[in-house]
């Protein structure tokens, strides 16, 4: 089997706030073109871990590399699309104005900008709401707009922090179809989630608990190794085994 190319590597990353250890010696490789899921209970450290890759946070010790370049790096920031856990949108502007603003930060102009805005809004099924003010959006619509913004500049790596919270199953399905399409085009996607059925759709999973990475593998591998039939059970076994 051909060895997939490493796209993200996290080496001995630990993070602590004062005495509180949030991440403990994390080692992880993520390959190009895969959908990698980070699964873990609330407060496990998922957000903290993905922030190390966006350049917004730096580890207390250890390093993280994206395309063999140590983060944070300004050069690499353009290759990353980040969707934060909480929607970071300008509520007093319309969806279109938000998209225009963020796309010009990534250097998208004129026709290309218009085309990309139309494409991403089509993808999240918000094409009809371009002119509306974001303050009039529902929670799920804001989530989708945040996703659209992360996709605007066609990044090589997408880092999505709980992208489908507040989105109904039908729409969630179509968003995942979009993820598979992006994956086919070579985009690496890193998603955090605590929804188990979503975890099953990832190529590989990393289970996080109390700041430690307790297991990494494909959903089937994880189930097999722990002798369980669902990811949920596997997660419980790994979590319990640690203690």
């Amino acid at each position: 089997m051909e060895q997939p190319k490493t796209c993200v590597s996290i080496r001995h990353v630990s993070k602590s706030y004062k005495k509180h250890h949030v991440l403990q010696d994390i080692n992880l490789d993520i390959f190009e073109g895969e959908i990698f899921g980070l699964l873990g209970p609330s407060g496990a450290g998922k957000t903290t871990l993905v922030k190390q890759l966006t350049g917004l946070d730096t580890p207390t010790s250890g390093e993280s590399y994206v395309f063999q370049t140590k983060m944070p790096s300004l050069k690499l920031i353009t290759s990353i699309g980040y969707m934060a856990q909480s929607d970071a949108l300008y509520e007093d502007l319309s969806a279109k104005e938000n998209l225009q603003f963020f796309s010009s930060l990534y250097g998208l102009k004129g026709e290309k900008q218009t085309r990309r805005i139309a494409e991403v809004m089509e993808l999240v099924q918000l094409s009809g709401d371009l002119k509306r003010l974001v303050s009039n959006f529902s929670g799920g619509m804001k989530r989708r707009l945040s996703l659209a913004i992360a996709l605007l500049h066609e990044p090589k790596i997408l880092i999505l922090d709980e992208p489908t919270v507040g989105i109904d199953p039908v729409l969630r399905k179509s968003i995942w179809e979009a993820f598979y399409k992006l994956k086919q085009n070579g985009t690496t996607i890193i998603v955090t989630t605590h929804v188990m059925d979503e975890a099953g759709k990832c190529d590989r999973l990393g289970l996080i608990r109390d700041g430690g990475l307790i297991a990494v593998g494909t959903p089937d591998e994880l189930k097999e190794m722990s002798n369980t039939t669902t990811i949920e059970e596997a997660f419980l076994v790994y979590g319990g085994a640690k203690k």
Binding site: L56, S86, A88, F101
Partner: protein, 342 residues
């Protein structure tokens, strides 16, 4: 260009928020108009009682500009004084005039004394001393308090509103997570600060031009110098307010905490802006003045508007204000390292 994108977004947000935009322009206009009416409402007419003043003396007095009531005895004058019917009364005992004032309002007491001094017959009964001729280097005899306070207030409004609005919008940027989102984009830290500087700079230019034009051409505030210099100073002052507001917003967790900086940072600057005579400020405090931006802006604005001076008189103030802005800009860029190390 990325700075331009940020500038455009900031201007869009300001224009969209009609109420705040109204506040920024209408509120200063309203307050300046009221001050104009308060200060230029004419001189105070003191109410004075004459207790048994000999007619020979009264005949020689210039009674214009006061309401004079005559009393036959001091007791009734005292009663009226206590009831605040009169502001003071004059008695003449043994050829020596004496005045008793009500005295609870120093402004009224001052006006009463001033009137009495000019009304009393001077020197010998028929020896008319020559009229003292008064010339003004700056200003004129009809220059009012409004003209002197005006330039300071103009500066103060610009500082106050820009400080608050810019501080709050940056605070929102931080608390809604959009600042983090900006830093996850290729936007440089200096570009964020510059975007704010240019965006609010453009808005402040328009705001202060409108307010200054209104004060000068509608209210008739004294204006000896060039309008362009006034705009230059207000723009520089606005930049210090903006950059200081952004800086302090990182120490506030919400809008209310941003407001708490007003009595600590904004209001004290009034005391050193020359609204009150700087020479009479206690030595313990007067050293603070040169550390406040309004001190330089007020000085420069008064040089331009009252004294009609140009570049030669104000360039030091310009350097000081530009220095403040540069200092705050650099500290802001450093402070943003908290969110992204590079």
């Amino acid at each position: 260009m990325r700075v331009f994108a940020l500038t455009q977004r900031i201007l869009r947000q300001i224009v969209r928020d009609k109420r705040t935009m109204g506040l920024l322009i209408i509120a200063p206009i309203l307050v300046l108009t009221m001050l104009h009416l308060v200060f230029n409402g004419g001189d105070y007419t003191p109410k004075i009682g004459f207790v048994d003043v000999p007619t020979t003396v009264v005949e020689q007095m210039n009674l214009e500009g006061a309401d004079v009531t005559t009393y036959s005895d001091e007791k009734s004058a005292k009663a009226d004084l206590a009831n605040r019917m009169i502001d003071g009364y004059l008695t003449i005992a043994n050829n020596a005039p004496a005045v008793v004032l009500e005295g609870s309002d120093p402004g009224v007491a001052g006006a009463t004394m001033k009137w009495l001094q000019q009304a009393m017959p001077t020197g010998q009964e028929n020896g008319h001393s020559p009229q003292l001729e008064i010339d003004y280097l700056h200003g004129s005899s009809d220059m009012g308090t409004f003209d002197y306070f005006g330039p300071v207030l103009l500066g103060f409004f610009v500082f106050f509103f820009v400080f608050l609005i810019a501080g709050v919008s940056f605070l929102r940027e931080r608390t809604t997570g959009t600042l983090e989102r900006l830093l996850a984009s290729p936007l440089r830290k200096w570009e964020i600060v510059m975007g704010y500087v240019v965006g609010f700079g453009i808005f402040t230019m328009i705001q202060s031009a409108i307010i200054a034009a209104y004060a000068i051409y509608v209210l008739g505030m004294m204006m000896e110098g060039a309008f362009g210099y006034v705009l230059l100073i207000t723009l520089l002052l606005a930049l210090t307010a903006l950059t200081l507001g952004i800086l302090l917003s990182s120490f506030a967790n919400n809008e209310l905490q941003m407001m708490q900086f007003i009595p600590i940072i904004v209001v004290p600057q009034i005391f050193f802006s020359g609204l009150f005579n700087l020479d009479t400020i206690s030595k313990w405090l007067s050293w603070v003045g040169p550390f406040t931006p309004l001190y330089y802006a007020a000085d420069a604005l008064r040089d331009i508007m009252v004294r009609g001076y140009g570049w030669g008189a104000i360039y030091m103030d310009i350097f000081a204000l530009a220095g403040f802005s540069l200092l705050f800009i650099s500290v802001n860029i450093l402070a943003l390292r908290k969110y992204r190390k590079i």
